[in-house]
């Protein structure tokens, strides 16, 4: 039983990986070890597929609403979509004071897309993998946000935008200056030569600190989402294991329901946190700080 359970969990946590196998041919990995051996030039087909499907779903739903958007009395879909758009717009405009038309739509995309990715967690853990197995697909991990590639992919895209807008706002010099002359600053006034010497002396330590701060943003952003959803998924898998025992079948059902209800909050909150932190980081990137 224990080994079965271990196998069951491991099976659920293995991605459908396409890449170059040890023998040099390209194809789908037959087990987790083979997938791990494929290295960087491999792709998680299931994560990509669900991420794409859910992203396209977001685009289609919102595009359908946007295409028929009327300034008259909104109905049905437009109502719901406008509620989310209004919420995101309020949140964004309260955090992000600069002019950048990209930020709010990006926050909307992140919020809804990540919410959809997370929402897959509420589909009972065996439904889609079971269906996939019936269709001959061995591995099927349906919650893309439990794949660190997905969450870090988004987080580092945000990171790229942070650097892009940072340099765009402050110039290359200003951007590098921010890394070198913060948080330790030479005191104002005094001998200019001493000041320059202090600046030079502080620069390496500032660079280390600021680089850590900078890198911590995307890493924490991606890993927070991944960690929360991975843990949630793991608990769903463990609860699903209880269904195999006659004794724990009913308590398992109760737990499943309770955890799903709680998880509704978690997935919404995590999507919101991801979107808001993205906006916060980009607002920081736009802030041209005072003189150094």
């Amino acid at each position: 039983m224990a080994e079965d359970a271990g196998g069951y969990i491991k099976h659920h946590l293995t991605n459908l990986t396409f890449g170059q196998k040890a023998d040099g041919t390209w194809g789908i990995a037959e087990n987790a070890e083979q997938a791990a051996a494929m290295g960087f030039w491999a792709i998680h087909v299931d994560s990509m597929f669900w991420s794409l499907v859910l992203g396209v779903l977001f685009c289609l739903v919102f595009w359908a609403a946007a295409r028929k958007a009327t300034s008259g009395v909104p109905r049905g879909l437009q109502n719901g979509v406008e509620m989310i758009v209004d919420f995101i717009e309020d949140t964004t405009s309260s955090i992000f004071q600069h002019t950048n038309s990209l930020i709010a739509p990006m926050a909307l995309t992140i919020f809804v897309w990540v919410f959809f990715l997370n929402l897959m967690d509420l589909v009972p853990v065996d439904w889609i993998p079971g269906l996939a197995k019936w269709m001959g697909i061995e591995f099927m991990k349906v919650v893309p946000s439990t794949d660190p590639n997905i969450t870090l992919g988004m987080a580092f895209s945000v990171f790229a935008l942070i650097i892009f807008f940072g340099i765009k706002q402050k110039g290359v010099g200003g951007f590098i200056g921010e890394l070198l002359f913060h948080p330790f600053e030479a005191p104002k006034g005094g001998n200019p030569i001493v000041r320059i010497l202090l600046k030079v002396a502080f620069a390496p330590i500032n660079l280390v600190l600021e680089t850590v701060t900078l890198i911590a943003k995307p890493v924490s952003l991606g890993l927070r989402l991944f960690g929360n959803l991975y843990a949630g998924e793991m608990i769903f898998i463990l609860i699903a294991l209880m269904y195999t025992s006659a004794v724990f079948f009913v308590p398992g059902g109760v737990l499943h329901w309770a955890w799903a209800v709680f998880h509704v909050l978690v997935i919404t909150l995590q999507a919101f946190i991801f979107a808001v932190l993205t906006v916060v980081y980009l607002a920081q990137a736009h802030d041209v700080s005072d003189e150094h």
Partner: protein, 156 residues
């Protein structure tokens, strides 16, 4: 669970979806919402304006009504004054008419009296002469006594 090409694939998806939302979703929804906001604001503004206009119109109507009332009162007062005037005039006219008629009547009476006196005077002379003739039977010289008799008649 290893990091692989999926991370780049997801990045590509990310930028594509964000770009799509930026270009084809967000502006249209926001425009519709802004327009509706504007429409509602305009509607409220128009309602407030209509309310103000109504109040103005009511005040104006009240003003006109008051003016009309004052004018009517003025007309009534004028008419009343005019009536009093007319009655006064009529009374004055009537009085002067009465005076005139009275005077004419008096003049007529005086004239009648004079005429009667004249007649009487003429007849008195004759009667006196007749009386005196009867008394004296003859002997009286008519021409001599006429002057005397005329004086008597004039004294009447």
């Amino acid at each position: 669970m290893s990091i692989n090409f999926t991370i780049l694939g997801q990045s590509i998806f990310f930028f594509v979806f964000v770009w799509f939302c930026w270009k084809f979703i967000w502006p249209f929804l926001i425009r519709a919402m802004r327009e509706r906001q504007q429409t509602i604001a305009d509607g409220l503004e128009a309602a407030a304006k209509a309310q103000r206009d109504l109040e103005h119109a009511e005040a104006r109507a009240e003003e006109i009504l008051n003016e009309a009332r004052a004018e009517a009162r003025g007309i009534v007062d004028d008419a009343r004054g005019q009536a009093v005037q007319m009655i006064d005039n009529a009374r004055t006219d009537a009085e002067s008419e009465r005076e005139r008629i009275l005077k004419a009547a008096q003049a007529d009476v005086a004239q009648e009296l004079n005429r009667a006196k004249e007649t009487l005077r003429g007849e008195v002379a004759d009667l006196a002469v007749l009386g005196a003739e009867r008394i004296l039977e003859a002997s009286i010289d008519r021409d001599r006594h006429d002057a005397l008799l005329d004086r008597v008649a004039a004294d009447l």
